[in-house]
């Protein structure tokens, strides 16, 4: 197996790990927060503000993890381009 092929494979594996890891952590954070929010939302005087905070919290978690995955994707594309360039250079040599 050539070194560049190995690097490309490792790159894919790492970006896959970040992608799946981010989704797993996102699910955990949303599900874990859901329990106390469910309790707070059942108490009438604070139900409305609790629901509002819950919506903002979920949105913040979603946006944060979407950003992580977005950056991960961009880094993956950049690394692919760099590997392709290295391959081209190696072939020319």
């Amino acid at each position: 197996m050539s070194s560049l092929k190995l690097v490309r494979g490792m790159r894919k594996l790492l970006t896959d790990a970040v992608e799946h890891g981010s989704r797993a952590v996102e699910t955990i954070q949303l599900e874990t927060a859901k329990r106390p929010f469910t309790v707070l939302e059942a108490i009438s005087p604070i139900a409305v503000p609790a629901k509002t905070v819950h919506v903002f919290y979920d949105a913040a978690v979603n946006v944060t993890h979407a950003s992580i995955r977005g950056v991960n994707g961009v880094v993956g594309i950049a690394l692919d381009a760099a590997i392709a360039l290295a391959e081209k250079t190696t072939d020319e040599e």
Binding site: M10, D16, T32
Partner: protein, 329 residues
């Protein structure tokens, strides 16, 4: 051996583990780290044409042996011990030309079996001299893949099956691996608990490859796999898939402990004795396999089996015997 051999060896060792753990994911995502099934020589894939095989074996004989490694291994497992590899000994002592095969051990066993059936077809066609016998040697999962390939060959009427008169299984879990079955049930229980943390643990556990999951019940055909997937039990009552009657089978199983009770429970750490012996030792009436064709080696662990003098001695004894009469298909 080239100067970078130790680096190559460590790398292929690591890649073998990655392939075994998540090889199905690697294949699904077209990851370059996934192994393609190939005949290997000194860490490189050999093209299956007559010229390449003649260059690999200038003194090729009409009897060939194909050796398959186990889960999370590469063909280098057969060179891992202090002893000489089985292939070289077969060549020297019996005039059998050895071929070592590497494959992605994370793929489902039936898929690897089908690929192996095609590979043997190509190998027999490209071998420099007409092949009169194909000997299959499978270590651990490799034995199940050999069996799976034989089932494919029987179904598709592939010509090479008639050349297979003997098959050797070393530490092969014919009756499945209990550790995987327990892991499967625990994972399903964790997934059934309505808690995000147990779900996460179950999800992580479920990342293990299809190859590992198939080892639980020794699923050698697609029918076995399909039956297993919706089930929630420790044992598939429709197993085992029988050994093909037209082939003479030789089973080597081991145990770390020499205590009979501990040996039965824990076997060689990975494969219990009853599974490695296809129940021939524990339930003699279950399988019509001659007792001489099952060898139990106390004092050996699973990782010692692909390259050990004691294992070789049993294989040599088996190969030195005249062929037994087997049923014709």
């Amino acid at each position: 051996m080239s100067e970078d051999a130790p680096r190559t060896s460590k790398l292929s060792f690591a890649l073998g583990i990655v392939n075994g753990l998540i090889g199905d994911h690697l294949a699904r995502t077209d990851n370059e780290l996934a192994f393609d099934m190939a005949v290997m020589s000194k860490g490189a894939a050999v093209v299956l044409d007559t010229e390449s095989l003649r260059a690999l074996h200038p003194d090729a004989m009409s009897r060939v042996c194909v050796l398959l490694h186990g889960l999370m291994n590469t063909e280098e497992a057969f060179f891992s011990g202090d002893c000489e590899d089985y292939g070289a000994r077969m060549q020297r002592e019996f005039g059998i030309t050895p071929y070592y095969v590497r494959y992605n051990s994370g793929l489902p066993i039936p898929k690897n079996g089908a690929a192996f059936a095609r590979l043997v077809t190509d190998l027999v066609a490209a071998h420099p001299v007409p092949v009169t016998e194909v000997l299959l040697v499978g270590y651990s999962m490799g034995g199940l893949i050999a069996r799976s390939a034989c089932h494919v060959a029987a179904l598709e009427d592939l010509a090479w099956l008639s050349l297979v008169r003997r098959a050797v299984y070393v530490g092969t879990p014919h009756r499945g691996a209990p550790m995987e079955r327990v892991g499967r049930v625990v994972t399903k229980i964790l997934a059934a608990i309505p808690d995000p943390y147990t779900h996460l643990i179950a999800d992580i556990a479920n990342l293990r490859s299809d190859g590992i999951k198939d080892l639980g019940d020794a699923d050698v055909t697609d029918v076995d796999r399909a039956r297993r997937l919706p089930r929630f039990s420790l044992r598939d009552e429709k197993h085992p898939v029988p050994l093909l009657p037209q082939v003479e089978h030789f089973l080597v199983c081991a145990s770390v402990s020499e205590d009979p009770q501990l040996a039965m429970w824990f076997g060689d750490v990975m494969v219990p004795v009853h599974s490695g012996s296809f129940d021939a030792i524990t339930e003699k009436a279950h399988l019509a396999l001659p007792q001489d064709n099952v060898k139990y080696l106390p004092g050996l662990s699973h990782i010692m089996l692909p390259c050990h003098d004691r294992v070789w001695e049993t294989i040599r004894d088996f190969l030195g015997r005249p062929l037994a009469e087997t049923e014709t298909p």
